[in-house]
Structures are given as structure tokens and as C-alpha cells.
Symmetry: C2
Subunit: 134 residues, 2 copies
DNA sequence: TTATATCCGACCTATTTAGTCCTAATTAAA
DNA sequence: TTTAATTAGGACTAAATAGGTCGGATATAA
């Protein structure tokens, strides 16, 4: 419960490694997956999500790979999570309205406040805060 | 991702309802499950966890049920979550040491800080903060 | 032309979450 | 003393999510 997924972890590791190399040079999925013991195909798909969202830029062909496209310091963790995993919410009713109890639910309001606090917290953490290890 | 489970929600709803009735009278699982459209057996098992943890007190037999045993204002949400779902952590390495990358992992430290912030947040929210609707 | 990349969907597997079933044990009340 | 209502708890099944794999397409440097 309340865990991040491997895909998110892998993406963070990848970006962290790319930042180390500087954002001029390209880093391939192969390189990242080998150096960190991450399943190639899964990381590849995750990088594709980041490319679609224009977090990184892809260069195809031999000696291709990815490079950072946006400054990680302006990317919120909330955004990052949702690029990879889709809508994020503490409970179902925070992003869809399918719950039967939604009218009479006694805990919805207080728990929604917690949801907001968490979102708020991740809105104030940037990708840079995690990938720039210190 | 980052969602609470139904068991946690059901437990919160149950406790919320019990608090409304006052902590002298007993509330049965049947009553709670019917009034809130919650699966009886699942709620029953969840209440048993709370009883073992002495959050509530059980009374068997006809007209039996549960009543609050501890003051909800002194129970941290962290504790509550872990009673129901077991060890809570943002990633695997925050409560077990089985991850292969644990030595070389570039993101462990910064992400551990986030984990600590979340724990800290839930250490400062009491059960009462959620079950006493306002 | 070939080898090396990303791209992308379909698929499979494992794990976790959610829900069900069945059989005690306890006890108030008929 | 029997019956019905309640909690206790294990075994099981079903559904949803997470994690991982495969195959083929597209682009491009050498
Ligand atoms: S309405 Fe209540 S029970 Fe339904 S998802 Fe929201 S918090 Fe949970
Ligand atoms: S060591 Fe790194 S990869 Fe492993 S669980 Fe911890 S954060 Fe995730």
C-alpha cells in the first residue's frame, strides 16, 4: 500500500543517470538497463512515455538514445507520476465518480483533505529534487 | 498507484459510524455493512484486525458487536494503516532489504526522504481527524 | 545494405487486492 | 437446554494491478 511502482523507479534512475552525463550527450536504453540491472523492454516502454510527454527527446538509429528536453527543476513529481501511471488519487472517488457510496460516504471529505495534502506535497517536489542526488 | 485500500476505507467508515453512536453502545458488523453497502465478510475480517490491535473491543453473542477501546485522537494514521495492511513504505527497500540494486541505487536516498515525509505526515494525523467528520 | 536505435501494441505472468465460504466458539434469550 | 445472533479465523476464488516479454515497424548512421 502507498508504494510507487517499478516503472517510476526505473524512470527516476534513468533520468538520474542521464543528468550525470550532462544533457548534451545521448544515453541509450541498453546502457541504462545494463548498468542498473533493469529489464530492457520495460525501461524502453517507460522511456517512450517520457518521450511522448516531451520530458526527454529521442534520437533514433545507431548511437541514438535519449537526452533531457525539459529542465527537471520545473517538472513537478505529480506530473511525472501521472505521465507514467495515469491519474493519481488516494481513493477512487478522487479521480473517478464510480463509487456507489459517493453520496452518503462519511469519510470522503476528511480523506479528500489528505489526498490534497499529498498532491500538494508532490506539487512542491521537482524531478530535480530526486535525480540530483545529494 | 498511491491509493489506500478498500479495507482501510471500510474500517474508517465503520469507526466513523461507531463514533457517531457514542462509545457506550455496541455496533455490529451487520449493521455497518448494511447501512453502508459494504461486503459483510470483508468488513468482519477487518474489524477482527482492529479488535486484535485493541483499537476496538468485541462483544460476542446476540446484541453483541464492537465498541471503541482506545481514544481515536491518540491513534496515528501510520499505526492504523499498518494494523490493517502491514508494513507501509514508499518503495520496497524502505521496509525490506531484498532489492538487488540497494547498494548502487542512485535514487534511494532522495526517495527515502520523500518516504520519511509521508510517514511524518501520517504520524501527525490521528484517526480522530478522519472519523470525526466536519 | 546492415546494424543499432526508438516505437508501439499485444501478450503473458506474478503479485496484490477484493470478496466469498465454511466451520468454530461464545452467549443472550426463548 | 435449545436456538439464534454474534465474533473468530482459516481456506478459497475472483478481479485488478504491476511487472515483464515478444514481435514487428520505423528511422538512421556507417
Ligand atoms: S466515496 Fe467514500 S467509499 Fe467511495 S471511494 Fe470515496 S472515500 Fe472511498
Ligand atoms: S534500492 Fe533503489 S531500486 Fe531498490 S527498492 Fe530501493 S529505491 Fe527502489
Amino acid at each position: 500500500m502507498l508504494k510507487i511502482t517499478r516503472k517510476v523507479e526505473y524512470a527516476l534512475i534513468a533520468l538520474s543517470q542521464m543528468q550525470l552525463k550532462g544533457n548534451k550527450s545521448l544515453t541509450s536504453v541498453k546502457e541504462i538497463s545494463q548498468q542498473n540491472g533493469i529489464p530492457y523492454e520495460l525501461l524502453a516502454k517507460t522511456m517512450q512515455l517520457l518521450a511522448r510527454a516531451e520530458i526527454v527527446e529521442a534520437v533514433k538509429g545507431p548511437h541514438g538514445g535519449y537526452r533531457l528536453k525539459k529542465d527537471p527543476s520545473i517538472i513537478k513529481m505529480t506530473t511525472f507520476f501521472e505521465i507514467i501511471e495515469g491519474p493519481m488519487g488516494f481513493m477512487d472517488c478522487s479521480f473517478d465518480t464510480d463509487c456507489d457510496q459517493i453520496q452518503s460516504c462519511a469519510i470522503r471529505t476528511p480523506i479528500q483533505r489528505i489526498n490534497d495534502s499529498i498532491r500538494n506535497m508532490f506539487n512542491n517536489i521537482s524531478l530535480q529534487d530526486i535525480t540530483m542526488l545529494s
